[in-house]
């Protein structure tokens, strides 16, 4: 395995300790005016970027936290390091 992911709490680890959690799409949509199209977009649809994308990972075999990184999907290399989960909520 070649992928490594940098967990904000545990540091750089083997990628198999982590679970991929999808492209960054922002928080859950608001209730008001929610259309089936918008909901489908939030639940299912992806941009499938061939290049650097912002995405969620969970350190499932480590501290259990969810965090975001930027990763180049054409090389599997992290690009710039993470926004910590707490900050994402604000």
């Amino acid at each position: 395995m070649a992928l490594t992911i940098t967990c904000p709490i545990c540091g750089k680890r083997n990628g198999y300790e982590f679970r991929f959690g999808g492209e960054e799409k922002g928080p859950r949509p608001e209730e008001e005016g929610l259309t089936p199209e918008a909901w489908c977009d939030y639940v299912h649809l992806n941009k499938c970027v061939a290049g650097v994308q912002e995405e969620w990972w969970c350190h499932k075999d480590g501290c259990g936290s969810w965090f975001k990184i930027h990763r180049d999907t054409t090389t599997n290399l992290e690009k710039e390091i993470k926004t910590v989960i707490e900050e994402a909520g604000k």
């Binding site: 395995m1 070649a2 992928l3 990628g15 198999y16 679970r19 991929f20 959690g21 999808g22 089936p36 199209e37 909901w39 489908c40 977009d41 639940v43 299912h44 649809l45 992806n46 941009k47 499938c48 970027v49 061939a50 969620w56 969970c58 999907t73 054409t74 090389t75 599997n76």
Partner: protein
């Protein structure tokens, strides 16, 4: 008969300024669609735009297994037709596609799996596709190398045996279709990159490429694993797709030892012996989206562990080559075929995951019908993009395939 050394898909033509149909991607689905457009509908003014060379992507990287034992009633008839078409295509293309209908054995490792297999088998039989549930002993008779003892991680309870399935020479399908399409006038532009689709009043108007712009009213994107990114880039349409690298590998060539395709869900592994004698094996995808097509140390080791258990004689065999390709996975493991919906004149054929090879013959036929008539054939209606919005996932897999925590 041996002197046909003229270029198989014509001289390299200059790019014209307009075509009736432009197809982006030089893989099997594109070539098959172009072939059937010429053959069934007399539409020959077609440009295939391929960034690398034909068969560069999934068409040349799959392990060429074909079968029609899918899970749902929407898929079985389509794959059945695809399977039935191989001998027909061999004849029509006058090219030996080397169809070896050796039959597929899908191993079951628990009572629950046997139950799941029973539903799939019943669905196949209901649609006239031969498929049977057999026990471990019968499986061993078919594949003497199988280890049916209890002391392996996933003991073999039985298998789903699908005699009409088998293996083809995937490159031959690419070259045969390309030759036949080119002979009818289809222009195959290799080393040409599609850069954008121009629209006017909600209709397709043009395609820009690295070699210039083309006017056209119809565009099909069927670029395998690259489709979703292209469709988003060119038209801003997002799809329920995750693109993952899937790996396959071969061992050194051996005299015949494996007469059927053997696969196992529990071991994440399939194995079959090619006509050249190599054991081709693979199956697993990286659990995160990427376009690298890189193989991983993790996976080749996993594969060796799996084969060591259920085909233990292969412990004495050497892996020779591993490679990766792309699988564009949808949450229900069923493809997206749609057209004239988001933009008039725009068609898409993607989300095939690792089923693109098995389906290409029939899909080419129906996509050609769709594009030629502008009417969606009944066979393709269930595969429209809208199903995700309507919460009608296809059920092609019992468990959800989604590269978010949803699985």
């Amino acid at each position: 008969m041996f002197s046909k050394n003229k270029p198989m898909w014509g001289k390299k033509p200059p790019l014209k300024s307009s075509y009736d149909v432009v197809i982006i991607g030089g893989g099997l689905h594109s070539l098959a669609t172009a072939y059937y457009l010429t053959k069934e509908y007399g539409i020959t003014d077609i440009a295939i735009i391929e960034k690398n060379y034909i068969g560069f992507g999934g068409a040349g990287r799959n392990t060429a297994i074909v079968r029609a034992n899918q899970r749902t009633q929407y898929n079985v008839p389509l794959y059945k037709e695809a399977l039935d078409l191989w001998p027909v295509l061999t004849k029509d293309l006058d090219y030996n596609l080397m169809f070896n209908n050796c039959g597929n054995l899908n191993l079951m490792h628990s009572e629950a799996a046997m139950k799941a297999a029973r539903m799939t088998i019943a669905t196949a039989q209901f649609h006239g596709v031969e498929s049977h549930l057999i026990d471990a002993k019968q499986a061993k008779e078919l594949v003497p190398a199988l280890n049916i003892s209890e002391d392996i991680t996933f003991p073999i309870h039985g298998a789903m045996f699908h005699p009409p399935g088998g293996v083809l020479r995937h490159d031959a399908v690419v070259w045969g279709l390309a030759r036949a399409a080119a002979a009818k006038g289809v222009q195959i532009h290799q080393q040409t990159e599609a850069l954008g689709i121009g629209t006017q009043n909600g209709k397709v108007a043009s395609v820009t490429t690295s070699r210039g712009a083309i006017n056209t009213k119809q565009v099909l994107i069927s670029a395998g694993g690259y489709s979703a990114a292209l469709i988003y880039d060119m038209l801003g349409i997002k799809l329920p797709i995750s693109v993952l690298t899937i790996q396959a590998m071969v061992t050194q060539p051996l005299k015949p030892v494996l007469d059927h395709v053997v696969s196992s869900g529990a071991y994440h592994c399939y194995a079959n012996q090619t006509l050249k004698g190599e054991i081709a094996t693979g199956a697993h995808m990286d659990p995160w989206p990427n376009y690298t097509t890189l193989n991983t140390a993790h996976y080749i080791k996993h594969q060796a562990e799996a084969l060591s258990e259920f085909l233990p004689c292969l412990r004495g065999v050497r892996f020779m080559r591993i490679w990766g390709g792309l699988a564009d996975m949808t949450p229900d493991m069923a493809p997206i075929m749609d057209g004239n919906e988001q933009v008039e004149g725009f068609f898409m054929d993607c989300g095939w995951g690792y089923f693109g090879f098995k389906s290409c013959s029939a899909v080419g036929k129906y996509m050609a019908q769709f594009m030629a008539t502008n009417q969606c054939p009944d066979m393709l209606k269930p595969f429209a993009l809208k199903r995700y919005q309507e919460h009608r996932l296809m059920g092609e897999t019992a468990a959800l395939v989604n590269y978010t925590p949803d699985n």
